[in-house]
Each structure stands twice: as structure tokens, then as C-alpha cells.
Assembly symmetry: C2
Homo-oligomer: 317 residues x 2
Amino acid sequence: MIVALAGGVGGAKLAEGLAAVVSGDLSVVVNTGDDFEHFGLAVSPDLDTVMYTLAGIANAETGWGLAGETWGFLDQATRLGGPAWFRIGDRDLATHVLRTERLRRGENLTSITADLCRRLGIKARILPMSDGPVRTVVHTPEGALAFQEYFVRRRCEVAVTGFTFDGADRARPTEEVRSALQHPALAAIVICPSNPFVSIDPILAVPGLKDLLRESRVPIMAVSPIIGGAAVKGPAAKMMRELGREVSAATVAAYYRDLVDGIVIDEADAGLASHIEAMEMAVLIVPTLMRSSADRRALALGCLDFARDLVMKAVAQ
Amino acid sequence: MIVALAGGVGGAKLAEGLAAVVSGDLSVVVNTGDDFEHFGLAVSPDLDTVMYTLAGIANAETGWGLAGETWGFLDQATRLGGPAWFRIGDRDLATHVLRTERLRRGENLTSITADLCRRLGIKARILPMSDGPVRTVVHTPEGALAFQEYFVRRRCEVAVTGFTFDGADRARPTEEVRSALQHPALAAIVICPSNPFVSIDPILAVPGLKDLLRESRVPIMAVSPIIGGAAVKGPAAKMMRELGREVSAATVAAYYRDLVDGIVIDEADAGLASHIEAMEMAVLIVPTLMRSSADRRALALGCLDFARDLVMKAVAQ
């Protein structure tokens, strides 16, 4: 049994690879700090990206939304004065409308997500990091911005100075997340190649979650979202730079050093291995760029092998 | 200035004709007894049929929804376990989502409808009969059914024994409806060829509305939705039969006799004129079947002429 922590696109890709190769259960704990209300509907971008990817219905070109989408709703809503900056497709809208209705009736996000996954034929457990709302706030010289304002409306153009996670102090790990991390059959925890600042940190900000990771006594590894000094997708590299850090897989390693046993870096970053090992972390060097399903499976298998190595190493010591 | 009372399809058609020929203002007071919540969204079928028809974007074939509609939302929502019995198209959904969001923020239905109409380029005022909820309940030997349960889900197949209008006792005419009916320039009130039991009666059930009609001192006329002993569309004839009445334009006349000065019947029913006149109502005999836009305009012009005749007749007496 494997637990993965994931944000959006990069996390979803590795989750897909893990789902294909893990023989036992896979639980993916997903960031909900990106969640927001739009058109009065509860939108959970990272949950949906992971869900659509594992269901095989994601739009591979855009990295968000559904393949074969239509846009009648947004076209008409814009005509009627609604906002156009966040693009919701007609099929995607079904998720938001049904989720919103069920949340209003008092059902929790974990239960709703489980049911949607079941109907989409997804075997892996997709677990929201918490049922209580946590909202990532992006701090900038222009003031604080709600995450989607920064990410979609402003296209990450404004510089960041830091992040806070509204509501995190009142959030707590769900029973389902707790059970997954405390499961006797748990073999490894994989931090997916998602943005450390706005995809993984919100998850780690849920009080008690870091303790659950540490108490699990299984290998914890992180896959670097930085390859050759650049982010594969999204603003991770830009944020790193704006926060005054070197854009490097070594920076990712340093960021997670108190939490993880090993870090997975790309072959392009092989030269950083000794530097990272000096931080007392094991290093796995494999191709980490996931262009195809085969790439995703190969990286997932690499992570599982790495976990076995880390266990052997711990036993040997 | 003209005020029309309308339900769905038939009412919308005459409203379109009136909008084309009335030189001054046209206000259409629309039944909201059909309104219901579906997918957690506020759906107002009659308001939307009138709105889409006056905007020239209605689906003429179905009598509901928008022309050129797509169905991605409903298809995906059904896959995700949502109900499929009430068909909401992708573009249509924009109306419901935006309306629901604005209602939740505290805006009233009248104001929301006015804004949607403005954005759709509609000059006529479309006025919900009330801002407070009124819900038509259909009584049957199987028990009481919510209107859409009867109308769409059960396809009007079950026999009716009567109707009640939940919430009507707490509803009241909006300021906008009151102003329209008390306007000094008001020239006539037209009850459109809508279902008397479930389209017009809910409007008349709003406390104070009948008094406003009577106090207007302008000609009130009703256009019969029954032609040649049958309804043009919908369950009006079937209901009439089930309620033990003859399916006839004369039954419509008798139903409205305490309220209207004149009734407009189709040429096919010319033989009923003397019978109706004996009920002390004026009768206009014109083609009332509205197949084309020209038909709608011709019927609207007939109604305006009839109003003038009724005024002259009143002056002469």
C-alpha cells in the first residue's frame, strides 16, 4: 500500500503511474488549498485534475479540464454577465454542480469525492487533504491574492513574497487520511513532483499531518518538480527565484530535508547528487519527465524500487 | 402600455407578438409556480421560456430550452449519478447557475430577471409574478405531486383532481407588477393562451393581484388556449376533462368570466360566440393558432383592436 501527496498536473501524472503499477491500495492525498467558489459553485481544481487523470478523461493538452470538452455554458454565462477568466467546460461543470449540491446538503468532500471516483471507475482512493476549507493566499508586493486570482486571473505574473493557508489552523486530517497513513500495510509515502510551496505545503500545513508522516515509519520520498533548473509546468521555478532561492532540485531537497528519507531527481541533475547526499538524504537518479503513460509507470516503478532500497538501507544500519 | 399574464409556450408566443406590435411599453407578468430546485439550482421554466422567446433564442421545436443547445453537462452529470429526467442544456444552464448565485447573494428574482433580459437585448419587461416562492402542487388520486414531477417526470399521465399553490398565501405582488398594473398609461391587460389551471391561476393566486386587475379600469381579455375542443400544446384539455368540464373555449370563458371583459376565440369556435356572449362577455373571433411570427403579430394586433373596441363599447354605454 502506497500513499502519495499530490497537487495538480505533475502530481496527477505520477499518481496515474502509481495507480498502474502498485499491486495493493493506492491513496492519493490531494491539495485543496486551490479550491474556491466560482459561479457560486465549489470548484476543487487539484482534486479534479487527479480524478480526471486517473479516470483517463483528462485533457492532456491543457493540463486541466476534460478531453473533448464543449463551452456552451461559459459562452452563454459570459453573455449573461458572468465571469470568463476561469474556464469551466460543460462536462467539467457537472462535477462542480453535483459537488456543490451535495456539500450544501451536508455531505463532506471526502465522501463526495469517493462517490464521484467510484462512478468514474477509479480504483485508487483520492482523498482531499481535509474536509474543512483551507485557502492558499499568495502574498505579493501588491497585497494578498486568493490563489486562483494569482494563478489563473493574473497568470502568475506578479512576484510572490510568501504564502499562507487560511483555515489551516482549524483544519485536521480526515479519518480517511489518518487511516491511510496509519495502515499496517503502508509501504511508502511519495511526495509527487508538485509545487512545494502551493501544492504540497498546504497539505503539510494541516495540523497533525506532518506528525502522521513522521510516525508512519515507512520511507518517505519526494520527486523533484525541478528538472535542470526549470519547472516542468507551472510557477514553481519562478516562485523559487522570487523567494531568493536557487532554482534547483537541490533546493527542493533542502526544502523537504526534515521530512523525507530520499529524493528522486532527474538524470539532468545527476551532478547534484553528492550535494544532496551531504544533506543526509538518499538520492535516486532516473528520468522524471513524464511525457507518456510509459514514462509515468517507469517513474512510479522507480519510486517503488527506491522505497525498497530505503527500507533495506534502514535495516542494514 | 400593455400588461400580459403568461405561462410557458403559448404565453411566450403571444408575448412575442405583443412585443413586436405594441408601440409603448409591454410588461409580461409570468407564472413562477413551475419554479423548482434541480441540481441545487433555481430553475424557472416559464420565465425562461418567455425570456428565450423574446430574445429570439428559444428552441422552437421543443417549446423549451435554447436553440442550438449542447448536452455535455447533462451527459456527464448523469454519468456521475445526477438525475436525467429534467433536461437542462449547457447554455440553458448558464441562466440557472447565474440566477442561483445571485439569489443566494440576496438579490430578488425580479431584479435578476431584469438584468438577464437587458443582457439578452429584450425590451419588454418580464416580471415574475412574485419574488417569494409559490409552488404549484398537482393533486391526483396517487397523492400530491410537485409540478415538475407531474409535468416532466410523469409526463402529465396521472389524472388531476385539483391544484394548490404552496406559498401563495405569503406571496404578494412585487412593486414592479403593482406599478405596471397601476400605470396611468396602461391600455389593456391580456391573459395569454396559457393553461388556466397551472399557468394563469398561480398568478391570480398571489394575494392582491386580482384586485389590481379589477382596479386597473382597463379592458381585460383572455385568449383561449382551447381551439376546436383541444389544447394547442400541453395538458390543458386533459385537465379540463379530468376536472369534469367540457373541453371548450366556452369553458375557458366561463372560467374567467368574473375577471375579464372579453374573450378571444379561434375561428374554429365561432359557433360558441353567442353562448359566451350570453355570459356577458365580448367575443373576438380571429385565428389564434400561432405557427409563425406573422401569426403571433396578427393575434397581438387583434388583441389591441379588441381592447379599443371594448373601451369604445364601455364609453358608449
